[in-house]
Amino acid sequence: MYPGYDMTPPAPRETRELRFEIEEFHADYCWTLDCGDVERWPDYFTDDALYRITARENADAGLRVGLVYADSKAMIRDRAFAIKHTQMYAPRTMQHFVTNVRVLEAKGAAIKAQSNYLLLQTLVDGPSTIHQAGRYYDTFVRAGGRLLLKERQCIYDTVLIANDLVLPV
């Protein structure tokens, strides 16, 4: 589905353990964002992380643009600061739902996985709407006993964005 994310999983028992660990990671990551604690969001990444949100039409065509494109944790931190302190946008809350976690590969230090995500947005005077349906392609590494993202590709199907995407996925 996405280049570099082929399925060559480890043994079933290890796969199950890793899947459980990745599910816990997702729950923590989403909790941080859904609480609005965006300045803690960079803590889930390595210093050299690549983070990109892009439409499936770009991913399928090998086009590299990102709605958000950060190739360092410092860039992720700059975005977090801007969202929290300088950007102008109407108040909103988000909820992430992450499912269908599949462990694709665990070789050496890197663990690759994919998951589906659903992002709901609620503006102050409107209903909750499906803002984005997409898929994470993640590469994790271990640091200090916990998982960190070395790469997160958020590939969304919801090609026509409702006005904008302000908060991280």
């Binding site: 360092s72 860039m75 946008y89």
Partner: protein, 431 residues
């Protein structure tokens, strides 16, 4: 999108949306210093715009040639709200025709992009060549012994797809419903052509990708936003804090002779803190405490022979050419009723870019688009304006900065380019 009935600003429920041909569309007293709300809310006006502007004597952006480089390549696109197909024939020529089968009207081309030898309508398999000519009609002569089929005088030549007038300029493809429209160079005029050529002339575009969003605001608000340098120095903390566009430094709002097109231009000052220092008291968006953790993002590689580091061109009626430092893009406006527009973004670099330059453009792309530090603020602001215009009983907006002048200005504290656009608009619309 207003797809849910519980939304309190559900379309169609406000008086300003109910105006029809019986309403007296009289521009408010005070000439161009006021804009009446009904140009943004009335369906009657919207229909007139489609007819007189998008289907009138205008050139509409439809594609970059880089999107259809090879014979048989095609792309779905739009002229105003009308779906069209842009295709490249085997002889290399570019063609634009309605995405509507000449038989029963089916929108036959469904893929965003692709390569084909012919277009076949899936409903009854009428087929068209890459120029839009009707090639084949199944059972054209009926079935032997049973009759049926087309009348004897049916000629394929009379039943091709509706073809539009096409112009290409430095790799950019325009289309027009009008056969009388002037050449594309004359249409743009020398003031606009100059900065257009900075981006496109003699350069081979390399696609970086697409964004698409629905912006719940009238299409003209997007033009106004880029003919309004005043907002740029107030709304956008990134421009102000990092000195990308600051009131008092070298800026320009350039209009063509008719006032329909524009170039919002700015030169990044060498000494940002000095430029900002003089005016920061007026700018609430200025953030002394904001320092970038990754400064590469806003570096400016001087790759253009131009005094401007930023040129945002509004090309009437449906194109924005964005050159913001080193991030380049096309914004294609598809009007979607009085209260909405679809924005199709095509981001690009050049074939000559090396890997480092490509990554630089990708990083700097964070400024623009529906998640861009500047782009998302514009989308929010335009949405707020549409909601205010539609839902309040007040009936006009004020554009008095700079007095009653029209056209180009060197000051950013001026709305002369917006007034010039509406001087042109009123003539075209008979208002």
């Amino acid at each position: 999108m207003f797809s849910v009935d519980t939304v309190i600003h559900k379309p169609g429920t406000f008086a300003k949306e109910q105006l029809d041909e019986s309403f007296d569309y009289k521009w408010p007293e005070g000439g161009l210093q006021y804009i009446p709300d009904w140009i943004y809310t009335s369906n009657e006006i919207y229909q007139r715009e489609i007819e007189r502007i998008f289907q009138g004597r205008t050139w509409n952006f439809v594609a970059l040639e880089a999107e259809i480089p090879n014979p048989g390549d095609y792309k779905r696109s739009y002229v105003g709200p009308t779906p069209v197909v842009v295709s490249r024939d085997t002889d290399g020529s570019v063609h634009v025709f309605e995405n509507r089968c000449a038989h029963r009207g089916a929108e036959f081309c469904r893929a965003q992009r692709g390569n084909t030898k012919e277009f076949v309508c899936p409903y009854h398999q009428w087929s068209y060549d890459l120029k839009g000519n009707l090639q084949g009609v199944p059972f054209k002569r009926g079935i032997k012994g049973e009759g049926g089929g087309m009348p004897k005088d049916f000629r394929n030549e009379d039943h091709g797809l509706l073809k539009l007038n096409v112009a290409t300029l430095h790799g950019v493809v325009f289309a027009s419903f009008s056969k009388e429209v002037e050449t594309i160079e004359q249409y743009l005029g020398p003031e606009i052509l100059k900065d257009f050529e900075v981006v496109f002339k003699g350069r081979k575009v390399k696609l970086l990708g697409y964004y698409r969003n629905e912006l719940p605001g009238n299409w003209k608000l997007y033009h106004e936003n880029l003919k309004d340098p005043y907002h740029a120095t107030l709304l956008h903390s990134f421009l102000v804090t990092f000195g990308l566009m600051v009131a008092g430094s070298k800026n320009g709002m350039i209009a063509d002779a008719l006032g329909r097109h524009g170039t919002l231009a700015s030169a990044k000052p060498d000494n940002v803190s000095a430029a900002v220092g003089e005016v920061k008291g007026e700018m609430r968006a200025y953030r002394e405490d904001f320092k970038l953790a990754d400064g590469r993002f806003l570096e400016y590689v001087r790759e253009f022979d131009s005094p401007w580091s930023v040129t945002m061109q509004t090309i009437w009626p449906n194109l924005i050419v964005q050159r913001e430092l080193n991030t380049l893009g096309i914004r294609h406006i598809v009007p979607n009723g009085p209260h909405s527009q679809i924005m199709l973004w095509t981001m690009f670099g050049y074939e000559s870019d090396d890997e480092e330059m490509t990554r630089h453009r990708l990083r700097q792309g964070n400024l623009m688009g529906p998640s861009g530090f500047l782009g998302l603020e514009d989308n929010e602001a335009i949405k707020f304006v549409q909601e205010g215009l539609r839902r309040s009983p007040s009936d006009k907006a004020v554009v008095k900065l700079g007095g009653n002048t029209l056209g180009s200005t060197s000051s950013v504290i001026d709305e002369a380019a917006i007034r010039a656009m509406y001087a042109y608009y009123r003539k075209e619309m008979g208002l």
